[in-house]
Amino acid sequence: MNEKVLETEVDDELPSNKGSRLLESLKTNPFAIAGVSILLVVLICALFSPWLAPIDPHEQVLNRAMKPPMYEQDGKVFYLGTDHLGRDLLSRVIYGARVSLIVGISATGIAGSIGLFLGLISGYYGGVTDYIIMRMVDFVLSFPFILLALATIAILQPSLWLIVVLIAFRQWTIYARIVRGNVLAIRESEYVTSTRASGGSDFRIIFKHILPNVLSPIIVIASLYLGRLVVIESGLSFLGLGVPPPTPTWGGLLAEGRSYLYVSWWIVTFPGLAITITVLGANLVGDWLRNVLDPRLRAR
């Protein structure tokens, strides 16, 4: 296995500009290329599912129920077979990418924005502001997430946006902690002190001088956690507490196929494979970005 994935040291020979460094390191790292390719395929599936899915994912034809992969009927090929209602599994897996990515990207976006903002304020102002924000972080992190998510969904009824909000509610703390740590170091640096001395406002210092310097860890954390969010969303769907049917979700497909495990192995195999490959892709990209952009994060 290529050591760039497993090892955590920065390659000193890479160019100093981050964009060029990323591109240069990508060329020589087959695992990063694999990760980026996987995520691109999933993204394309999610964006263009109506065009990519060979058959309507909701079309039920009972006389072709539970047919194995490569089954043919009326000139149509069911590459991954069909489910218990005769729906095309490949089309449903392609559509399933939508929910996983919407949840993963939206939750990351919301959590990243809140965490970034509160982390900046907390680190820059310190004192009471810092104390309150950090106690909020401790408080959220002290809860067992999955149980509280289950309890909340049980009472408020499952929906896509409730899941996004719940995940974001947990995730912002991770960003806030790391941004705060970075800001604490940056705010004492000479260029910040000199901007302050020359009359620069707090707003200007925070958003123009500090913010660009804490974006790298934010990107790294976002990519490292993307895979985990996909698993959380699928897990909730698997328990029947995710995005409700008829929307195809990978976890939902698995839950449906579970009852037919003994007779139709493909119904549970392919959606699970889709989740695993997506998570693997996200993890490989996360490892690569961390190694290039912020190797210190490994220890956190």
């Binding site: 149980l147 328990l239 993890n283 490989l284």
Partner: protein, 305 residues
């Protein structure tokens, strides 16, 4: 140190109280708890009767005081489905969860730590790269899918292991492996990177140059110093495994608190949900508290101000 302990203890108690408030407020967030608890076809008279029985017609604060006093005695009301004390039913399901979580936790330590350690010692060999490749994939496989694949392979195909059941040790194998996979893979990767970092330190070079054997270097010098981040992760893992066996228990129909909770959610049996969330959250808080104390013993340099 004692000041830290007291402060940390107070923090834990506050957290537990917050959990109680959260569980109380959760039902009220939905608007009318009586309506949430009853089936959709319940009549207005049924709703009014339940509201009266549960004291939901009293002011919110009075309800909270009654609820809080009850919760302190472990009284979360009667389960709708079982007709018994909800807390008692949750407690009865606790041994199965503890059995599964502790088996998975011990498995991840016994397997994850040594393979990570050996991978670091044999850095860049075929063993190292092979094990780490498996660990990277192991971290990506979701537990619910892994469980189903194990059933498909070992129960349906090979017919070696029973897919469900609880009575014999053989029933524990697949659930344990499923619940442990992610943590084992993560521990192995973390152990390897921590060990590699420690093995590059000057004092290790000194120990080697003084003629200390490789086993001596690893066990008496490197192990303890790479253990602090490991203990952090282990503590988090133990708490997560206890709260996170929900999915494994559902896949293997394991009679633990996780499966009980999911079933209670589907049956709208909220006293059970409240009691289970409170109990597992309490265990989570207590484990975090114990882990914090452990740090002090492991690394006297850590200061608690």
């Amino acid at each position: 140190m004692s000041g830290f302990l007291v402060r940390r203890l107070i923090q834990s108690v506050i957290l537990l109280k917050c959990v109680l408030v959260f569980v109380f407020l959760l039902l009220h967030l939905s608007g009318d708890p009586a309506r949430v608890m009853l089936p959709d076809d319940a009549t207005e008279a049924d709703i009014a009767q339940l509201r009266n029985e549960m004291g939901l017609d009293k002011p919110l604060f009075t309800q909270y005081v009654i609820y809080f006093k009850g919760a302190l005695r472990g009284d979360f009301g009667e389960s709708f489905g079982h007709g018994e004390s909800a807390f008692k039913i949750v407690l009865e399901h606790m041994p199965a969860t503890i059995q599964l979580a502790s088996a998975a936790f011990i498995f991840s330590i016994i397997i994850g730590l040594p393979i990570g350690c050996i991978a670091a010692i044999k850095e860049n060999t075929f063993y190292d790269q092979g094990v780490m490749a498996i660990a990277v994939i192991g971290q990506a496989i979701p537990d619910f899918w892994l469980g189903l694949m194990l059933i498909l392979f070992f129960s349906v195909h090979l017919q070696w292991l029973p897919p469900f059941g609880y009575e014999q040790w053989i029933h524990l194998i697949m659930p344990m492996f499923t619940a442990a996979m992610f943590h084992t893979a993560r521990l192995a990767r973390l152990m390897r990177s921590e060990m590699l970092e420690v093995l590059r330190q000057d004092y290790i070079v000194t120990a080697r140059s003084k003629g200390v054997s490789e086993i001596g270097v690893v066990f008496s010098h490197a192990m303890k110093n790479s253990s602090i981040p490991i203990v952090t992760v282990l503590g988090i893992d133990l708490a997560l495994t206890l709260g996170g066996t929900v999915i494994t228990e559902t896949v293997f129909a394991w009679p633990g608190v996780g499966r009980l909770t999911v079933e209670a959610i589907h049956e709208r049996d909220f006293p059970i949900v409240q009691a289970a969330v409170f109990l597992l959250a309490s265990i989570f808080v207590v484990i975090n508290f114990i882990v914090d104390i452990l740090y002090v013993y492991l690394d006297p340099r850590i200061e608690y101000k």
